[in-house]
Amino acid sequence: MSSPSWFEASARQRVKEMLDQDSFVEFIGPEQRETSPHLSLFDLPEQFDDGMIVGRGLLDGKPVFIAAQEGRFMGGAFGEVHGAKLTGLLRAARDVGSIPVVILFDTGGVRLQEANAGELAIAEIMRAVVEARLAGVPVVGLVGGRAGCYGGGGLTAGSCSALAVSEQGRISVSGPEVIETNRGVEEFDSKDRALVWRTMGGKQRYLIGGADVFADDTVASFRDAARYVIEHAAALDLDTLQAEQVRLEQRIERFGACADAIDIWRSMGAADPQSLPGMAFEDFVALADGLKETRHVAR
């Protein structure tokens, strides 16, 4: 049987199937019933793992810490418990100093019913990501789930050593509906899904250097991508940050006047930029790797 779709799979399936067989050990699993203490205030159902699975396992026989968000529970949003599990895992990685962390993002951002706790969780997670990286630990992110990687999830992903994204993946701070609600449909039509994907989807992110690896929508492809980005993770030091500064400033210089992603792709040299969204995986990777100018994506 072919490898299951990453987009379709649950967080548990992704974790189980991307790690070596039977190697996953969960920390504070669902049987501990450490659920959100806040959802009942809103008469909302809890989930036993609060939508976040953390633990350790083996990838090609090598130990990794792994965290996965369930994008279908509360849109994968960060709540108090959900976030604290990841914080604790990252702090452990920092303390150990040698075991990489793989984060399977699938989130709409902060869980509004516990917004302050979620916002602070993200601040703590980002600090813990940086601490782990400063301790020499690769922290890598995989983005290709139903909920995308929005809000604080996008910021956390941006703090990682390296990212893999699939076509389905979206990385952004404000979601399409939020932009439309605040700025009007003229600014952004959230129902125009082609627009959503070419603005914040996986292909655009890969092309402009927002992600290091473009994965196919299968667990196997993400597993390969995870192995690759762990190997090639950038260290976090002053050089990296300065390189990232230059990279980001150059992006504004080069594409800051573009009205649409199609214009960006055209100015990158894509002969038929309109065809990129529909392009099959292999064709796109071949084309993109010819276009991408910043080979080493400093982040």
Binding site: E8, E167, K191, R193, L195, W197
Partner: protein
């Protein structure tokens, strides 16, 4: 002295009134309302073309902008009440009486206007009935239609979404009526001529293409495990034993699941070539994997589907296409095909009662059924035999002599026992009855009558109503597949068990189906993108269905 050509005289004077806005047959968009005010007269029967797919939306808006002092008391005779403008004209008094067949998004507002007395309702028809009445007692005086393009002479290319146009124009143009077409563009040379220019009186170039709703696009990503289970039951418990070769599918997710299981589950059951070869069906994107896997021999379509045009063009062995290569749909002919040349209809509904009557009308929604009642009924005029038809007939009436026994069309209702928001599919009484009382109608809007229904498929199993010998059995057979709805829980367990032993009710385990095997991984495509891949990139889904 008797005048025998008053209609022709009236038409001449209408044309004269409209002539000042026209250059030849061509009228500017800005004069559309003025033209309508000139050629339509108060009390006229008017048809605005529009069904569950295509809409003559510019002309609908032009009519809605008319002066209600000049145009009033119109009698609208049209397939669809779908656009807000279709009801605005009633609110503004431009129109008063309505005969129609389908209303999707406006079903709630139409109910309010009916209750408020703003609409005088003739009847809710099926498409085919309404077309029929165009030729008998509801012939339009003016038809407002939509086409893709016109040439200078006024010939029309209606293209893949030809749909209702031929039926409307035939009835109007040949009975002294006026035909006004909105077109997306005027060109020198048409790809093909669907409507000849001498049946068309005016052509108006619209500022944007006429609207088409992608009504038949079902995203495989939304198909549930339960729907897959019902699809497996239908394939193994109905398609296979009856050997159904000629059929029509509804638009729900259960039948979309069936389409996506043919190349996987159907293949495993060895059914390829034995079932589901000939279709009366719109170009469902979810049928692409089955077509690509060689299951489908031929499809005739009521209309087209947004994004399917290139795929259809490249699969002319399967679809009906013109010399230009594009699809030719025709709702009237396809409805006739579904009625007389198909051995099965399978589709979903919102409510089923204890007699098996079903309806999608609820007390605050007057939906109209479009084509479903024709598809979902036994054609009493049918005379040609086929194996499924004869077999169904025999099950219903085992004792009559074979040579004198009518066959039966398989009419299958498929669904989950609970629908959206936990609303039960099975009810004691249809809401349609309550609605008919409130509106003082002569007839409750029933979509499929119980005596036409042969099977009901739910996740709990299949009820074969052909094998029921009396009303009691029929009721218990229905209760026996009604799951945990109040209807289902009130079953006579012993009788249901006896029905099961007789094969009237068949549970998944009776068919060798393990509900736990109903997995999304069985679907030949699990996303719209998968469908695009199956089509070799020929299917171009509308933006709202994309996630790339």
């Amino acid at each position: 002295m008797t005048v025998w050509d008053s209609g022709r005289i009236a038409r001449a004077s209408r044309l004269q009134a409209g002539a000042r806005y026209a250059k030849g047959k061509h009228v500017a968009r800005k004069d559309a309302t003025a033209l309508l005010e000139a050629v339509i007269q108060p009390g006229d029967r008017v048809c605005i073309e529009g069904d569950n797919q295509k809409q003559a939306d510019m002309l609908a808006a032009a009519l809605a902008a008319a002066d209600s002092g000049k145009l009033h008391d119109l009698h609208m005779v049209q397939s669809g009440v779908v656009l807000p403008e279709h009801l605005d004209i009633f609110e503004r008094g431009i129109a008063r009486r309505l005969d129609y067949a389908f209303s999707g998004p406006q079903s709630q507002r139409i109910a309010r206007l009916l209750f408020g007395g703003k609409i005088e309702l003739g009847a809710v028809h099926t498409y085919l009935e309404l077309f029929a009445r165009y030729f008998i007692d509801l012939t339009p005086q003016v038809a407002l239609i939509a086409a893709v393009s016109a040439d200078r002479e006024g010939n029309l290319y209606t293209g893949p979404n030809t749909e209702d146009t031929p039926a409307i124009v035939e009835a109007t143009a040949f009975k002294d009526g006026i035909v006004i077409a909105q077109v997306n563009e005027v060109v020198d040379k048409l790809p093909r001529i669907d409507i000849p220019s001498d049946w068309v009186n005016y052509v108006i170039e619209s500022d944007k293409p006429f609207y088409v709703e992608p009504l038949f696009t079902r995203d495989p990503a939304a198909i549930t495990e339960t729907q897959i289970l019902t699809a497996m039951l239908a394939i193994k418990g109905i398609y296979a034993p009856y050997g159904v070769q000629r059929l029509n599918h509804g638009i729900g997710f259960n039948t979309a699941a069936i389409e996506l299981l043919l190349p996987t589950y159907g293949e495993r059951l060895g059914l390829k070539g034995k079932v589901a070869s000939y279709w009366a069906l719109n170009p469902h994107p979810t049928l692409i994997p089955a077509i690509e896997s060689g299951w489908v021999k031929q499809i005739h379509s009521f209309g087209s589907e947004v994004g399917m045009d290139d795929y259809i063009r490249a699969r002319s062995d399967v679809y009906f296409t013109g010399p230009d290569g594009s699809l030719r749909s025709n709702r009237a002919f396809s409805q006739v095909a579904g009625l007389y040349a198909c051995d099965m209809f399978i589709g979903s509904t919102l409510q089923i009662d204890l007699q098996g009557n079903s309806s999608t009308v609820t007390t605050d929604r007057v939906a109209g059924f479009g084509g479903a009642p024709n598809m979902g009924s036994d054609a009493r005029g049918r005379r040609h035999p086929s194996e499924p038809w004869l077999r169904a007939g025999k099950e219903a009436d085992p004792d009559s002599p074979a040579l004198m026994r009518r066959g039966r069309k398989l009419v299958v209702q498929i669904g989950e026992t609970f629908g959206d928001k936990n609303v039960p599919l099975f009810v004691e009484h249809l809401d349609a009855i309550e609605l008919a009382r409130k509106l003082d109608l002569d007839l409750a809007p029933v979509m499929v009558y119980g005596d036409d229904v042969t099977h009901i498929v739910t996740e709990e199993g299949i009820a074969n109503l052909l094998l029921c010998r009396d009303n009691d059995e029929r009721e218990q057979a229905i209760r026996g597949v009604a799951g945990y709805t109040a209807i289902g829980r009130a079953r006579d367990a012993k009788m249901v068990q006896r029905l099961r032993e007789r094969g009237v009710i068949r549970r998944p385990e009776d068919l060798g189906i393990d509900p736990l095997d109903a997995d999304r991984r069985m679907l030949a495509a699990s996303s719209i993108k998968d469908l695009v891949r199956w089509s070799g990139g020929l299917y171009a889904p509308p933006s709202r269905f994309r996630n790339w």
